[in-house]
């Protein structure tokens, strides 16, 4: 940074991503509130800790190998080439720490940590999406292994493939998913579905004839405020999906703009229109479809944004609104149909809100943006319906559902997936609750003794 203009550019970028990380942290405050509110009193502490410990476990593993996967795997590997050398992202690189610049890293040493953290917050989100659906019966030990797999392995493979300027899916399929309908939401929803099958339903969720019973949120206020906070963090997510300042006019001039992750132009202004219009479309449709049920109305706001996210860098705001609104009845009905038909107990509707809405969002972008360039590189395939459909299958099915099902089944085999039925009935907080009662009783006894002796 030997002149003020270069310094301004670099430090602005560093600060830009740092700020997105702080805003995105609210997603996890929201997820914790939401899940605890959705769980019954007897499971509150377990539910809270299950989600909280995603943070350190996914963080350390994303430091150890997740970040390297993103830069090493854009070619598959072995689809469009081999492993890509990524000296700044390997765990023992000097660039993975405080570094003053110069040398082999070509500027990466200045933004490596903030860019890593922005991706890491997406990793926590992927794991938190799964966390909500499995509450009140999963073993923490099993869940945290699954959290590392979705948060530090599978989602970041899909990001390298379809959310990287040189990813093979972008090159060959014309895959376009600017704000991660498929890359985060479809994969996490698919993974959750894969885990739910071997995990099974909570005791009492289905009657003998298979009719589902409602296990309503214990605290609807906490659930809705949690979802509000997730919306807030989602702003940070949208901002973090951009490169804030990039020379987009290749060859014959200089034109600086914000870009999407593929280095193709968009504007922060445009995505702000689309974020709010798709949120509105989702909320309005959700209110009508669920007849004003707060849980589903709030969730539909989120699903609305997710459904429009694949193309929200380019859509018109009214298009974003209609795509969001049209997706809601489909995912709402699909959720209850899958629940009845396959006895799937998704406690918070995460498979529908993230998985189905994300899948639909990717597919719809294939029609809406048909023929658009997927990348500034003119040799890459253009956006098309088939490429997007195959992309959605890869996200939801190949990298989401399949590993979720396989690894959860393996954990089940080793008795690491589900708590004993007695503990489920007593509540997962039973030891803590009894110890709390004993502590209170000891104080009451001491107070009584004090009064009697004075």
């Amino acid at each position: 940074m030997d002149n003020e203009l270069t310094a301004l550019g670099i430090i602005f970028t560093e600060f830009y991503y740092w700020l997105t990380v702080v805003i995105m942290f609210l997603i996890h405050v929201g997820f914790c509130m939401y899940e605890v509110g959705a769980s019954r009193h007897k499971n509150h502490m377990h539910t809270l800790m299950k989600n909280t410990m995603i943070i350190p476990l996914v963080t350390v593993t994303f430091f150890f190998f997740g970040w390297w996967i993103y830069f090493a795997f854009p070619n598959g590997p072995w689809i469009t080439g081999g492993l890509v050398e990524a000296s700044h992202a390997v765990v023992n690189s000097e660039a993975m720490g405080v570094h003053m610049g110069a040398g082999e890293f070509n500027g990466w040493e200045r933004i490596n940590g903030v860019f890593w953290a922005a991706f890491l917050l997406f990793s926590w989100t992927a794991a938190s999406i799964v966390s909500g659906s499995v509450i009140e019966r999963i073993k923490s030990s099993g869940f945290w292994i699954l959290a590392v797999l979705i948060g530090s392995v599978f989602w970041i493979i899909d990001a390298a493939w379809g959310w990287h300027a040189e990813g093979w899916m972008v090159q060959l399929l014309g895959y376009h998913d600017a704000y991660a309908s498929g890359v985060i939401h479809a994969i996490a929803g698919g993974f959750a579905l894969g885990v739910l099958i071997p995990l099974g339903a909570r005791i009492g969720k289905f009657s003998a004839d298979g009719t589902p019973r409602n296990i309503n949120p214990r605290n609807p206020w906490l659930v809705t405020i949690g979802l509000f906070l997730i919306y807030t963090g989602f702003w940070g997510f949208y901002v973090a999906c951009n490169i804030p300042m990039w020379d987009i006019q290749a060859g014959d001039g200089v034109f600086y703009s914000a870009t999407n992750i593929y280095l193709a132009p968009t504007t922060l202004s445009g995505i702000t229109f689309n974020f709010l219009m798709s949120l509105s479309g989702g909320l309005m449709a959700g209110y009508v479809v669920s007849k004003g049920d707060p849980f589903w109305t709030y969730s539909s706001g989120l699903a609305g944004i997710i459904a429009a996210s694949a193309g929200n860098d380019l859509y018109h705001p009214i298009q974003a609104m209609f795509i969001a609104a049209a997706t809601i009845p489909v995912i709402y009905k699909l959720h209850f149909w899958v629940e009845r038909r396959f006895k799937i107990d998704d406690a918070v509707g995460a498979v529908a809100v993230h998985g189905y809405a994300g899948f639909i969002g990717v597919v719809v972008a294939g029609f809406m943006l048909w023929g658009y360039p997927s990348s500034p590189n003119p040799e890459y395939a253009t956006v098309n319906p088939l490429g997007q459909f195959v992309g959605a299958l890869i996200m939801f099915g190949l990298l989401g559902f399949l590993p979720g099902f396989v690894f959860a089944s393996l954990l089940k085999k080793f008795d690491m997936l589900r708590v004993p039925p007695e503990v489920e009935i007593l509540g997962l907080d039973i030891s803590a609750r009894v110890s709390e009662i004993n502590d209170e009783q000891a104080i009451i006894d001491a107070e009584r003794e004090y009064l009697n002796s004075n």
Binding site: R40, N92, L426
Partner: protein, 77 residues
């Protein structure tokens, strides 16, 4: 004497490179970090299984379970 790559901030800053102490120990730190992470999973799993075992032994009888369900029942006096 410094545990880092430099003794003071004078001169060309960019030539300093990494500024954390014991530059060169990154591979050792990475191995130690991975071992700590794996150890944590093993330890946590043992603690959780022991807790569940104790819970079932202490309160897993049918009568206790029925009582605990009654406590959850809003219509139970």
């Amino acid at each position: 004497m410094s545990t880092g790559n430099f003794e003071n901030w004078a001169g060309n800053i960019s030539e300093i490179g990494a500024v954390y102490p014991f530059v060169g120990s990154e591979t050792f730190l990475a191995i130690a970090g991975v071992i700590f992470w794996l150890w944590w999973h093993v330890k946590q799993s043992k603690i959780e299984n022991e807790d569940h075992k104790k819970d079932v032994e202490k309160w897993g009888g049918k009568d206790t379970l029925l009582k605990s369900i009654d406590k959850e029942d809003p219509e139970f006096p």
